[in-house]
């Protein structure tokens, strides 16, 4: 019964229906609409739990599958399912949304019901992205996701929100157009929009490379990777706190998810040929962006740049796999991808919490300038403790989730090439430098000015939010095994899959594709 019930549809549509209900309740009774919104967010989270408890962690096959014809004329199905890659991301989505709703409770006074509704609808759409197994359905959710985010930044955003929304929209839209072309091409190759069917499609190298680049544009913008990252700091700065949290904690993960669901299995040979490109972009993200983060004067921009640097570890983990194959090795491949996945989940908690922390300060002082603060801990000791905790997690301190992913990726990168690991490990210094310097200037020190002197410590709602996220960060840091176990079969299977060349002349399991590509 557990497996047959359409849990995925429920988790997608429940928040969307909830969003509509919240809008319908109007703006007259703000308290009531907030309660309805929170109720739906909580209920959605509870309904997503069976995906975890009922998940069979011994298989790489898709689970909780739902499939029925949607547009039969075009071969489009309503086709959902999850594996060890998407399931944790769906839970992350339903989990984080709760805190976004709570965080907006007191501070959103302009049309709160529409604000809450936008996040609920967003939640459903994002779950849709992670669970769609039909390319058109995926594309539908993928593009639909832009609309609520566009509205959230555009309506509740800061003074420069128009520039930010346009930049955000164009950047992401530009990327996804090419993805659509690739999806249609794959449809003509396989005769259906079944994503798993795409995985099996035999493709020549040129086709793979073109497809790879089409996907790369879409996913690199979302992650975001250097050099298509400049929309993110602007979007974060203008977005309301909740928008930033969703953006950092979940939307960026969709890019990483895309690489695993599309790029790697559909174009393994192209991925193997172009791994150097992604690895280079990832390492630039770690170092270049780390240095840029160091000199930011706006707290949100700093954390936005920090996000880009941390996401560099995700893409690095995904693509060092091919560099490992190149050495005729397979050990470390699974760990690299798993490390990237753990990094995504962990970054969801930590960056989400850090943006909430900035929100706490912004709600009180209405500025994000670092120089406007100083000595906050003197007035807000509990808040200060949380910030130091999340800063340490951001710097990858062992015992927090921030360590797990980075550690795994560094271990795997070392197997690929000493210098990859060397450059990646600079994050130990860089991330600590930009994060703790921020803490020093904002949290520590003598009370900087009268505004700081008037600050009040966290209220109950804020404390609750940060406590739960801190607990999650610690839990994964202390015992990541449950998370890894869920992903292991799926990722091991993926690694198997991408070792098999799709090139027509052969498909032996042993020789890595790259070995044949090189003279």
């Amino acid at each position: 019964m557990l497996l047959e019930f359409p849990w995925l549809s429920l988790v997608i549509w429940l928040p969307i229906i909830g969003g509509i209900a919240v809008i319908a309740s109007g703006e007259q009774n703000a308290e009531l609409t907030k309660r309805i919104a929170l109720g739906f967010a909580l209920l959605t989270f509870v309904m997503s739990l069976p995906l975890w408890f009922g998940f069979d962690a011994s298989t790489a096959a898709m689970q909780f599958v739902e499939r029925s014809p949607w547009l039969p004329a075009l071969g489009v199905d309503y086709y959902l399912g999850v594996d060890g890659i998407s399931m944790p991301l769906i839970l992350l989505t339903t989990f984080i949304t709760i805190f976004v709703i709570i965080a907006g409770w007191d501070v959103i006074s302009y049309k709160p019901s529409q604000y809450m509704a936008a996040f609920l609808i967003m939640e459903g759409i994002m779950v849709g992205v992670f669970s769609a197994l039909d390319a058109i359905l995926f594309y539908f959710f993928w593009e639909a996701m832009l609309i609520p985010m566009f509205i959230i930044i555009g309506v509740w955003g800061g003074p420069n929100r128009v520039y930010a929304t346009i930049k955000f929209f164009l950047y992401t839209f530009f990327g996804s157009v090419f993805m659509l072309v690739a999806l249609i091409y794959l449809y003509f190759q396989t005769g259906s929009f079944d994503i798993l069917g795409f995985h099996a499609a035999p493709l020549g190298l040129t086709a793979q490379i073109l497809i790879f680049f089409a996907f790369l544009l879409a996913f690199a913008v979302k992650v975001p990777m250097f050099p298509v990252h400049t929309w993110l700091p602007d979007a974060h700065v203008e977005a309301p706190t909740g928008g930033s949290v969703i953006l950092a904690a979940i939307m960026l993960k969709i890019g990483g998810y895309g690489f695993l669901r599309f790029s790697l299995p559909i174009a393994p040979d192209a991925s193997a040929q172009l791994d150097w490109l992604i690895i280079t972009m990832s390492l630039i993200a770690v170092i270049y962006i780390g240095l840029v983060a160091l000199v930011q004067q706006d707290m949100k921009k700093l954390i936005a740049y920090s996000s880009i640097a941390h996401m560099g570890f995700v893409t690095l983990g995904f693509f060092i796999v091919f560099a490992i194959f190149q050495r005729a090795e397979t050990a470390g491949a699974v760990m690299g991808i798993e490390g990237g996945m753990v990094q995504m989940i962990s970054h969801g908690f930590i960056s989400g919490a850090l943006f909430l922390c900035v929100g706490v300060l912004y709600d009180r002082m209405h500025t994000r300038e670092i120089s406007a603060y100083g000595g906050v801990i003197n007035r807000m000791p509990w808040f200060g403790a949380f910030v130091v905790f999340f800063a340490m997690a951001n710097a990858g301190l062992p015992g927090t989730s921030g360590f797990v992913g980075e550690f795994m990726v560094i271990l795997a990168a070392f197997r690929a090439d000493f210098w990859f690991a060397f450059l990646a490990a600079t994050t130990l210094v860089l991330a600590a430098a930009f994060t703790l310097w921020l803490v020093k200037r904002v949290i520590f020190g003598d009370i900087g000015n009268d505004n700081v002197a008037a600050l009040k410590d966290l209220n109950r709602r804020e404390t609750l939010n940060l406590s739960v996220l801190a607990a999650a960060t610690l839990a994964i840091g202390i015992w990541p095994k449950p998370l890894i176990d869920v992903m292991e079969p799926t990722i091991a299977n993926l690694v198997q899959q991408i070792q098999v060349s799709k090139l027509p002349e052969g498909s032996d399991l042993v020789t890595p594709p790259i070995a044949r590509l090189q003279p």
Binding site: V295, M380, F407, F414, K440, I447, W479, K481, D485
Partner: protein, 664 residues
């Protein structure tokens, strides 16, 4: 036993959590009671464990607690390895920690005046301090009890975190929060090497477990890796791991954070920055002896770095006037001795000195803290003098600590330091000659700075202002009690421990020494008891140099300083460039500030303004937006609304299409 080990680790953690989260509710007495109970329990149990190892031949324990994760077929475990080495470390750590806990009751009693009126952080600072030092004890125990590299790294970084929190304990002081940032970042530079070392271990051994790695190590003795033009795997691993030790144990050039760490309250300078955390590097290298033994290159590197630190940092101690900073440079120098011992494969001697140093250096710091309390937090030794009259217990214990530090015959430091110098003298590896010279000269420097400090603080006429002088008195028993408790081992432990540790090889399997590296067997071969060892020691150069340093300090004190208190300035004048070099601490701080801190920001700003904003956003993003806008503006003219324009366009299109069809 597993339960006992678990209690030893978790009791301080429990104390930390209770004192930290509920400090406000349970009050000061509640917080220090629970913290002391936790650490006390773990100290008692640790001593019991040690006694089991000494008298009951307790077998080593190596077991997993839980599986952290399994990835790629590699098990990441959390577990304990308790052998004789660990048991010794546990006893030292928990005992010193317990003393520091008790001492803190007195030292932090009136902490409130260290905080500004309007600061809420100052409210429960007393309880928070107890929470931190208990948390530190937990972390340090995790470090020494780990049975695998990952848990070692956890402990390694966790003690770094607590050190960060404690150096910056006074969050309102700019100097404190700069010092803790610096400490954390410099340690991270070390950890950068450390994590790469771990990665190398995982790559070649496919395991993180000590036992498994050490068992496989000899098979990899000849393995070469194609990095840096080809080096031996063991050299690469050991040097990378040692870079971590250089950060944590403050070896040059990563030593720069330790003097600044004196911004923290004195109890933690004793516990963390003298007795325990900074010796983690020494412990780690000893634990990794099966790996280090396989790379003579790495051992030479370790030896030379240690000896350089021992000598050069001691010299800086001569020109410092802050009581804590003199002792801090002394710590750097003594850590150099321990590290040098490791380089000479005299791991047991390194651990021996670690232990004696833990006692006498913790004692010296706590005595300094006692002086600082009496001096109303004036730390300048130029303002002290004559304190022995007012603080007899502090005076006599500090004297015991100082004699131990300068290796005065019979005191604990004599046995451990002499053993190190002798071992390095027997070492045959590259750099041993230089190291030996530096360590011997270091003996002179150590005695000079130690007794300059001692005379200036305790002897002569009091130089403090009238108000301070009228309030001078001995500190309460919670302060003097731990001083006495630490003075006892500072004097005696060397006598009793040298035979089992260095002669009878008590550490046994816990360390590995190749026969050709064994520099301690001379000592064992010529062992005729402690008395003979002392007699022999008194005929060697280090002893005479040390006495020379002591006499020179006395000369400085009685003939120069007594007659002319402004002699320091004159000496500095005469020392010229040399003293200036020492006062600039060889320019490391300036260099780091300019090149790393300044350079990093400069590059960051350049990348942000030029690359991100001007190139990517300015030229590409906004440029293409503008280009689209420009094309659209042109294209708009096509939609003129005039029928003949459209008709013309259609005809043109038709012609082009027809041409294409005809041609292809």
């Amino acid at each position: 036993m597993e339960t006992v080990y678990l209690i030893i680790v978790l009791a301080p953690l429990f104390g930390a959590i209770v004192a930290g989260f509920f400090g406000g509710k349970i009050g000061r007495a509640g917080a220090h009671s629970v913290a002391i109970a936790g650490v006390g329990l773990s100290a008692v149990l640790s001593l019991w464990v040690l006694s089991r190892f000494i008298w009951h031949d307790e077998p080593a324990f190596n077991g997993s607690l839980y599986t952290w994760m399994v990835a790629d077929g590699i098990r990441f475990e959390i577990g304990f390895l308790v052998d004789r080495l660990t048991a010794l470390m546990m006893a030292v750590v928990t005992f010193v920690s317990l003393m520091v806990h008790i001492y803190t009751i007195g030292y932090m009693a009136d902490d409130a005046h260290n905080w500004p009126e309007n600061s809420l952080v100052g409210k429960n600072s007393y309880q928070r301090f107890f929470s931190y030092i208990s948390l530190f004890t937990f972390s340090m125990l995790m470090l020494v009890m780990a049975n695998n590299f990952m848990q070692l790294f956890f402990g390694w970084e966790a003690v770094g975190l607590v050190s960060y929190l404690l150096i910056g304990f006074y969050t309102t002081r700019e100097s404190a929060i700069s010092a803790n940032l610096k400490a954390f970042l410099v340690n991270r530079v070390g950890d950068f090497g450390f994590i790469l070392g771990i990665a190398a271990v995982v790559m070649y051994f496919n395991s993180l477990d000590y036992a498994e790695v050490f068992a496989q190590a000899p098979a990899h003795a000849e393995t070469q890796v194609a990095v840096f033009g080809g080096v031996s795997l063991m050299t690469l691993i050991c040097i990378l791991l040692f870079i971590g030790a250089m950060g944590k144990s403050a070896q040059m050039p990563l030593h720069v954070w330790l003097p600044d760490s004196m911004e923290g309250p004195t109890p933690i300078s004793a516990l963390i920055h003298a007795a325990t955390m900074v010796t983690a590097g020494v412990f780690m290298v000893t634990r990794m002896s099966p790996l280090f033994e396989l790379s003579t290159t790495a051992l030479s590197f370790v030896l030379v770095i240690g000896a350089l630190t021992a000598f050069l940092m001691g010299l800086i101690g001569l020109v410092q006037n802050d009581i804590k900073r003199v002792i801090a440079y002394s710590t750097l120098s003594q850590l150099g001795y321990m590290i040098a011992a490791l380089g000479a494969s005299a791991y047991a001697a390194g651990i021996f000195h670690l232990m004696t140093h833990a006692f006498f250096k913790a004692l010296l710091f706590l005595a300094a803290g006692s002086v600082i309390i009496a001096m109303h937090h004036d730390q300048d030794i130029r303002n002290m003098g004559g304190l022995k009259r007012y603080m007899p217990i502090t005076w006599i214990t500090a004297l015991a600590g100082s004699l131990a530090l300068i290796a005065f015959p019979g005191f604990s430091g004599f046995f451990s330091k002499d053993a190190i110098i002798e071992a390095v003298g027997h070492s045959q590896i590259a750099g041993a000659g230089l190291a030996n010279l530096l360590l011997i000269l270091g003996a002179f420097v150590t005695a000079l700075y130690s007794f300059r400090l001692y005379f200036l603080v305790f002897h002569g006429e009091p130089r403090m202002d009238h108000h301070t002088r009228s309030h001078l008195h001995e500190t309460p028993w919670v302060v003097t009690g731990p001083l006495i408790a630490l003075a006892i081992p500072s004097v005696f432990i060397g006598w009793y421990a040298i035979e089992p540790l260095l002669v009878e090889n008590w550490l046994g399997d816990a360390i590995t020494v190749l026969h050709e590296h064994d520099t301690l067997h001379h000592l064992a071969a010529h062992w005729h008891g402690q008395r003979e060892f002392i007699r022999h020691g008194m005929q060697t150069l280090p002893f005479w140099l040390s006495m020379g340093g002591l006499l020179m300090a006395a000369y400085y004190w009685w003939y120069l300083h007594q007659r002319n208190p402004g002699i320091d300035a004159e000496l500095q004048e005469r020392g010229g460039r040399f003293t200036r070099l020492l006062q600039d601490k060889y320019g490391f701080d300036d260099f780091n500030q300019r090149v790393f801190a300044g350079g990093g920001q400069l590059i960051g700003r350049f990348l942000w303004k030029r690359s991100d904003q001007r190139l990517i956003d300015g030229a590409v993003v906004n440029g293409s937006a503008k280009a689209v806008g420009w094309i659209a503006a042109r294209a708009r003219h096509l939609q003129s609304g005039m029928l003949y324009h459209y008709a013309f366009a259609m005809i043109l299109g038709l012609v082009v299409l027809l041409t294409l069809f005809v041609t292809f």
